[in-house]
């Protein structure tokens, strides 16, 4: 024991905290700095992707082309998707992982700090490459974030897109390896796997999913590149290739990817609901099993994105049944959250508001997901705004709300200051109204037959599209309030105690607020 203490002192003598200026951020290997970088990067992407969404909704405010030609419109749709998925949601979760996993398992840092730095800095590089196409002849990619061949193979500047995806994939894989190695090797003594906090569990599972599917995405884009520039015919029917093969490969990545964007949200929600109910989480181990089941099932449901490509009956039946199975573990999670609230002693601070909205609105997205699983009905729903409504319900009030909840919940720990509760609640209610006004009417126009990715539409859809656009601008502008609240909290605010929330439980609440630059140099003991 004395050796450890000696080491600790030695460490203090030679390390004087972070470097000064820009070099601190370029060369940092500190998990908290890297977490902060990821989170700010994600927020910037969220605003840029959001600005693209505002462009889309402004064009769709009424029928006819008012603001842009359809080429530009398709570019906005594509870049909105790519930026929100690969620049917004995923990096936000990686940022949270960097900040929280070491704090929650009592580790001094991530296992591979230099690789951690590289994982982050690859991201701005990849996005610089992707966005550079905006200044080239032919412009940004306009084939949808799903880049179906053969539309994408003949598109201008596709090589930049492919290269950017490769780099993002490398960044994700390195990040995942780091997460897995950290969790497997650096847990505080006494913290068995089943005692691990659920956010850590959710990330362990997510990291395995990422390692499994990112190479598949890399394969898809590589084949695309070969088709586009090196004369192969993987996806070109005229050369003996198969355009449907592309979709199978893409969705084998794409469906687990969907869960990569929601599993960490499950972890976050479990922590927050338990804290503000002042009651331990109901069914901790069943939550873990449910997440593992969802992750395993995610590998056998991919073709439910392809019910209309002309598959044989047995395949359609298999993918319908497999998809419906996912409702069971997902249901268990929702019931567990309800049971945690049941007989609690509940207060409704901003993180709790976002988390409850998450449970309700994510479940609504789950309901439409269940409807979409029913193959004969999917022949009607497929590629209409019903699908757009569905995945935005699981991604915006789902993943994005959970990220906002997490920011409010852990912000006092990160900055040492409490955020302004009144402003936080205002931000919540504006976002809540905005999200529902935007996406709920999209169920209606979708059922009535409005296809997605349309720059222009028939007159019967005009009213609900106008409503949706108004909601989108409300939601978009509300996020400037979020920016203001966060920036204000970074610089000022009521001082936070180490515990922050009286009902909070976990190792991160045992260190000071703000968390010191180096924590857990001596591993804590977990009972």
């Amino acid at each position: 024991m004395s050796a450890v203490v000696e080491n600790h002192n030695h460490h203090d003598d030679h390390h004087h905290g972070p470097k000064k200026g820009i070099m601190r951020w370029l060369t940092t290997t500190n998990h908290k700095d890297i977490g902060t970088l990821y989170l700010w990067f994600s927020f910037a992407a969220f605003l840029l992707g959001g600005a693209f969404a505002m462009g889309i909704r402004a064009e769709l405010f009424e029928p006819g082309l008012q603001l842009m030609d359809p080429i530009r419109y398709n570019q906005l749709v594509t870049m909105h998707g790519l930026i929100m998925i690969f620049g917004g949601v995923m990096p936000a979760f990686v940022g949270l992982a960097n900040w929280l996993i070491p704090l929650q398992i009592g580790a001094p840092d991530m296992a591979m700090p230099r690789m951690n730095n590289l994982s982050f800095w690859l991201l701005p590089t990849a996005f610089a490459i992707l966005l550079s196409t905006a200044f080239m002849e032919g412009g940004m990619p306009g084939f949808g974030w799903t880049f179906y061949a053969p539309l994408s193979t003949n598109y201008p500047n596709v090589a930049y897109f492919v290269f950017a995806i490769h780099i993002m994939g490398a960044s994700s894989i390195m990040g995942s390896i780091n997460v897995i190695v950290t969790i497997m090797n650096m847990r505080a003594p006494g913290m068995t796997l089943m005692k691990m906090p659920l956010f850590v569990w959710s990330w362990l599972i997510t990291a395995y999913l990422l390692i499994a599917v990112m190479p598949v995405l890399a394969g898809a884009v590589t084949m695309l590149l070969m088709d586009a520039y090196f004369g192969t015919s993987f996806f070109d029917a005229a050369g003996g290739g198969d355009p449907v093969l592309f979709q199978h490969v893409f969705w084998f990545f794409g469906h687990p990817e969907v869960y990569i964007m929601i599993l960490p949200a499950f972890g976050i929600t479990s922590h927050i609901i338990s804290t503000f109910s002042r009651k331990p989480l109901f069914g901790h181990s069943s939550m873990v099993y449910a997440m593992v089941s969802i992750a395993v099932l995610s590998f056998v449901v991919w073709a439910h994105h392809m019910f209309t490509v002309g598959m044989p009956l047995v395949a359609e039946l298999f993918f319908m049944w497999a998809t419906m199975l996912i409702a069971i573990p997902t249901g268990v999670k929702v019931f567990n959250w309800c049971a945690t609230i049941f007989k609690g002693s509940i207060t409704y601070e901003t993180p709790m508001l976002f988390s409850i909205a998450f449970v309700v609105l994510f479940t609504i997205g789950g309901f439409s997901g269940l409807m979409l699983a029913i193959t004969p009905a999917d022949f009607q729903y497929h590629d209409t705004y019903f699908v757009v409504a569905h995945f935005h319900y699981v991604l915006v009030p789902g993943a994005v709300f959970s990220i906002m909840a997490a920011v409010y919940y852990w912000l006092p720990k990160w900055t040492g200051n409490m955020y302004d509760e009144k402003m936080g609640r205002l931000h919540f209610w504006l976002s809540f109204a905005g999200v529902n006004i935007t996406f709920f009417p999209q169920h209606f126009v979708g059922l009535a037959g409005m296809p997605r990715r349309y720059a222009d539409y028939a007159l019967q859809f005009a009213e609900w599209n106008a409503v949706s656009s108004v909601g989108a601008f409300l939601f978009g502008l509300s996020q400037l309030l979020f920016l203001y609240i966060v920036v204000k909290t970074v610089f000022a605010g009521k001082k936070a105690t180490p515990q922050v929330w009286d009902g909070a439980d976990g190792l991160e609440w045992t260190v000071d607020s703000p968390a010191p630059y180096h924590t857990f140099d001596v591993p804590p003991k977990v009972k």
Binding site: P63, G64, L65, Q66, P70, I71, N74, E137, G142, F143, Y148, L151, A237, A238, P243, S277, P280, L281, F282, G283, S286, T308, V309, G310, M320, W321, L325, A327, I328, G331, I341, F342, K343, G344, S345, I356, V360, I364, F367, L370, M371, I374, P376, A377, F379, Q380, D383, H443, L447, A448, G449, P451, R452, R453, Y454, A455, D456, Y457, L459, F461
Partner: protein, 386 residues
Amino acid sequence: MAYMKNKLWALILYPISLFMSADWLDVNMPVGVTDISKEVFGLHMAIFFVVVAIGVIVFGVLFWSMWKYRRSNNKKPATFTENHTVEILWTIIPTLILIAMAVPASITLKKIYDHEAEEGGIDIQVVGWQWKWQYKYLDEQVGNKPLSFFSNLTTPPDQYEFNRVEKTENYLLEVDEPVVIPVDTPVRFLITSNDVIHSWYMSDFAVKQDAIPGFINVAKTKVNVPGIYRGNCTELCGERHAYMPIVVKAVTQEEYQEWLQQKRDLAEQIAYLTEKEWTSEELLATGEEIYETRCAACHQTNGAGIAGFYPALAGSDVVMNDKAKQIEILMEGIRGSQMQSFAEQLNEVEMASVITFTRLAWGNERSGDGEIVIPKDIVEYKETNL
């Protein structure tokens, strides 16, 4: 008093009537006009009510707990963390509900596939092109080829691009030639694509099938009610994805036969017209119109194209000086680009007119050789090359 009562009712009913007025009512899936579409609608409503019921129960319990166990009402939280009975129950009950949903869904799906496999009826090949649909009636010969035509959007750019005139009722849902089918007869659509992936979506028939190059997908339908039905392309296929609607005209068997006869007569008329001597004025008159509907979407009304996507025709060397090459491009398309073959899309007269138009317009006549193309040139090309 009664007057007051009426006024009150009017006040209440007015917003409701406004809400129920035609435009606002489009909030659900159409029931459709085929047996399958009705069954799919029933399935959709059944699942919808199941999830609404689950939602009411789950959210009911959640909201009640949130209210009942708020801190001001319940200072001391419970500490339980599991209860095996409820956990088993809320795993088994959803499983049973899912089975109850999966069984009718599987039966309907089987029915759709069985229906497709049945013999009989008429076969129509549907080909997706950027950005129009081609329909080939495989059983109906016109001359020595199957009856075939293209279905192009007719909504003018003045309505959608420039917003200069008011949008009409069937905005973006109208075409020059709808696909005509007889009612009460099975129709098999054999769906494929000439370029990228499209998807043939007709909500009233509950049919949506992807049009994939190199594949032929089958969708079968039997329409019960005569009428005009409108649908869309539902797979992102590039710039004008929103501008390739589908219009199906379902008519009685007699009207269908009449329509087929008209198509045969028209083919004869065109064969006659190609023999005639044409002047550049006659060709220009039709050429400009064809250019507007078939070419201007990419090459633009002023012939300038879009940099990086579509080359300019104004000032192009081929268009100004190489008549033979231009005919070849129009007839064969350019592989690996979005320039498609128009050999099947335009007849000889239309083809000659539009080529002549591009060779004379935008100053090309002055800067180039100014030669025109007549329908006989096209006939000649077909005889030597096709």
